[in-house]
């Protein structure tokens, strides 16, 4: 079972839901796909048992073999290779690592070198396994690292994936092939607007989803009205409690501060199972 927790707007409580859900269930692992800003382990505080580097490939031109035929620069869609009369070089920041140039070079003058773009960490705490993807600062290929994180999905467990906020390709990479998405929102104009974008995305990808309204009493009713109008299931509402946010600030999860919250998250999971069953 794969459940991905996403949101349109950042800061709505996505990580709160992912972490607490993972801590309330059995036979579960948590995968942090928010590779630009992974936060789940701040709450789990796991013991890291394994670290794996993630590499992509970047081309390099062997100056001795290059005959300046310009085939590579003609093929490159990103203007990443410059070939002059007697010089050829790469403009690295334009390169997307697609491999066309080295494949078609008639002199085999282009070799691909490994480039470090991130790290996957596996941690463990009290039987819960957490896998965290971290994109190197300044790197841009987030979906690549997300795919590496997802290779750790275990079909025999409940996999909770924490996605990044928004609706762009990083989020798509996190939610593709999931069984269910929990969309976390807040009852404010920003929350509603971004929720609608996220709903559009999920509907275009035909993915089953439900909504959790966090800090449910700080704004107005528009989010609730929207969900009712659109026939969207509201799985859980969590009212704002200063104490919860204070614990959150310290890196203490809800269930850690008060284990009775586990019931709430177990019920959330049951509702999800029901919705999947009814489909």
């Amino acid at each position: 079972m794969i459940i991905t927790v996403a949101s349109g707007k950042g800061g709505t409580g996505k990580t709160t839901i992912s972490v607490n859900l993972a801590l309330s269930l059995n036979n579960v692992q948590l995968l942090d796909c928010d590779v630009e800003e992974p936060n789940c382990d701040l709450f789990i505080k796991s013991n890291i048992i394994e670290k794996k580097d993630v590499f992509t490939l970047v081309p390099e031109i062997n100056k001795e073999k290059c005959i300046f035929c310009k085939k590579c620069t003609q093929l490159c869609e990103y203007n990443a290779i410059v070939v002059l009369e007697d010089k050829s070089f790469l403009i690295k920041e334009m390169c997307h690592g697609c491999g066309v140039c080295s494949y078609f070079c008639p002199e085999h003058a282009i070799i691909e070198q490994k480039k470090h773009i991130g790290v996957i960490e596996k941690g463990e705490k009290l039987g819960l396994q957490i896998i965290t993807g971290k994109l190197d600062i300044g790197e841009v290929m987030a979906p690549f690292v997300i795919k590496e994180v997802k290779k750790n999905i275990n079909k025999n467990q409940i996999n909770i994936l924490d996605a990044s906020p928004g609706t762009s390709c990083s989020v798509v990479a996190s939610i593709i092939d999931t069984d269910y998405v929990i969309l976390v929102t807040e009852p404010t104009p920003f929350g509603l607007h971004d929720l609608q974008l996220a709903v559009d995305l999920l509907r275009s990808m035909n993915i089953l989803f439900g909504v959790v309204v966090n800090k449910s009493d700080i704004g107005d009713n528009k989010v609730f009205d929207y969900c009712e109008k659109e026939n969207i299931s509201i799985l859980l509402t969590i009212p704002f409690k200063k104490e919860i946010s204070q614990y959150y600030a310290q890196g203490i999860s809800m269930v850690e501060s008060n284990s009775s919250y586990k019931e709430m998250f177990k019920n959330l999971y049951e509702k999800i199972l029901k919705q999947i069953g009814n489909k």
């Binding site: 066309v100 600062i137 204070q246």
Partner: protein, 291 residues
């Protein structure tokens, strides 16, 4: 002409809400909303769209079923896992054309990928450039580069001194495109483990670009301990904290009314924001620059 961007690292720290207040205080500048993925600034500024343009992000491959012989060469060469069951998934296709070149029967064509609209609008506080990325599309930063360039050209043409940029969350392409070449960065943090953790990553990124950085702590009284941690971190790294805003539920009321906080209220909170803006302007006018 100076460019000032507000970012947050972690989302939801109050960046856009605060940016809107700065815009209302400055009154007459060029505004850019670089949070193209899930942009919210327009909900407060209510822009009147004057120009709407399509943004072509690149290309995407299309396989002609009738010509395809299912040899699988395209699937083998695609580094982006964009081809499944001999169908191209636009969402993952980076338009590199590898499959197009490798197909033995010319069954693949490259077509333009329209991924967003960008807009030039009027607001009550100045001209605004913004965009909306279609859900699922790549947010590579190209779109952001485009609207920033449009804004710079407009600022030069209209002789405006300041461009205020509402930046996106995170630390990758979109943020990089939002901060390159600016004079000053403000990071809005909240006193939580997550936000401090993410701030450190953002700080590393901004340092790579050697841009002056300032910090504002929002909802500071949620955790006095974390606020202290942030203050210590900033002190040891010579980062100035230009303001500390208390947690205030009434801020949401102004959002619900479609107004900036400084338009809605006139109290201790708004004074804090005004004092912050004065400090920021000093940096922009005197000390603004790389360093």
């Amino acid at each position: 002409m100076k460019e000032f961007v507000i970012i947050s690292g972690k989302g939801g720290t109050g960046k856009t809400t605060l940016t809107a207040s700065f815009i209302a205080l400055e009154q007459n500048q060029i505004i850019v909303d670089c949070d193209v993925d899930a942009s919210d600034l327009h909900l407060i500024l209510k822009p009147e769209i004057k120009i709407k343009e399509k943004f072509i992000a690149g290309k995407t491959a299309v396989i002609d079923e009738k010509l395809c012989i299912k040899c699988g060469k395209c699937i083998e060469c695609c580094r982006f896992n964009a081809i499944k069951d001999f169908k191209v998934y636009d969402i993952f296709c980076e338009g590199c054309s590898f499959c197009y070149h490798v197909c033995p029967v010319n069954a693949i064509n490259m077509k333009d990928k329209f991924s967003a609209f960008w807009f030039y609008s009027n607001t009550r506080y100045g001209k605004m450039f913004h965009a909306s990325l279609k859900p699922g599309e790549e947010n590579s930063g190209k779109l952001i580069s485009l609207i920033r360039e449009q804004a710079r050209n407009k600022a030069l043409k209209d002789e405006k001194d300041l461009i205020i940029i509402d930046g996106p969350p995170g630390t990758s392409c979109p943020v990089i495109s939002s901060i390159t070449g600016v004079n000053l960065v403000l990071v809005v943090i909240e006193p939580t483990c997550s936000s401090l953790h993410d701030f450190k990553r953002v700080y590393e990124l901004v340092c790579l670009f050697k841009i002056k950085i300032l910090v504002c702590i929002n909802k500071w009284d949620i955790s006095k301990e974390l606020t202290k941690n942030i203050e210590e971190y900033c002190l040891s790294n010579n980062i100035e904290i230009v303001g500390k805003i208390p947690f205030d539920k009434s801020i949401i009321k102004s959002l619900l009314n479609g107004k900036t906080v400084v338009e809605e209220y006139n109290n201790e909170l708004t004074q804090t924001i005004k004092d912050m803006w004065i400090k920021i302007k000093k940096y922009l006018n005197n000390k603004g620059g790389k360093g």
